[in-house]
Symmetry: C2
Subunit: 147 residues, 2 copies
Amino acid sequence: MRSEAGSLDRTVEDRLAEVGQRYTAHRRSLIAALAAAKRPLAIADLLTVLRGVPQSSAYRNLGVLEEAGIVRRVITEGDYARFELDEGLTAHHHHLVCENCGRVEDVEIPGTFERSIDRTLERLARDAGFATVGHRLDLIGRCRSCA
Amino acid sequence: MRSEAGSLDRTVEDRLAEVGQRYTAHRRSLIAALAAAKRPLAIADLLTVLRGVPQSSAYRNLGVLEEAGIVRRVITEGDYARFELDEGLTAHHHHLVCENCGRVEDVEIPGTFERSIDRTLERLARDAGFATVGHRLDLIGRCRSCA
DNA sequence: CTTCCTGCAAAAGTTTTGCATTAAC
DNA sequence: GTTAATGCAAAACTTTTGCAGGAAG
């Protein structure tokens, strides 16, 4: 988990280099936008903030960043995908999802609780013949505006 | 939570009637297929089982059933939606999601653990100004075939 | 100078919708 | 008889891809 902007850029650049990819201007602005948001952003959000980036470039770059393990595609309720920085670059967290407007916010839960979840799920997965990689815990509810 | 087939049909019929909808043959077979599966089914799965039902009818009927609170749309990793009976008609459960092949299976977790999750999330949601409706806890991993 | 990135336009894939017809109540 | 459901085809929408030109190392 790195918090300074310079450190983040260096990490991203290194990971891209490992897979023979460059850290271009488009990619820098995508990363900056995702790092500044406290929630996963949809392509539409990104295109608004990053005026001048064609949709196809945004998709293609997010695809590259995803394969490099830098960005994660978040599937929620809506019709389109949202993107956030991978957990290796941020803190492990969960999402508050508004069932009415689709808004998604990040939220962290206590570490002890997190470990308790992991232990329980690990056992359940083993019983079911699954190799656990992680979990996804979202809160579904109504945000302030939609309550 | 009702388990007998007859009781399920009656419940579905009643709920549809409440919103001025009919319990037709297509809808009966959709419900039967969903009730028989131990996992959320994609449209493609349903169309295979229910030979002769046009895709548009399946989508339209699932939409009606969803609005009536009978069926729930499950968003996982893949590109298309999956459907399952609403929790009012089955038991509360979670999903094992294979990150490789997209397979999804139902899994239940201990009641005490479930309640502990609910308590913790309720508090977090309140702090964030969210009215909690429920939670979604999925295990992400690799299934037997993909391990 | 070779490899990767960009931008446009076109294609692909899933889901929704308009409309005339048929079935349910 | 009214109202809702069906089936077909067409549309809408998000996401992916082909390709020619441009930038980066």
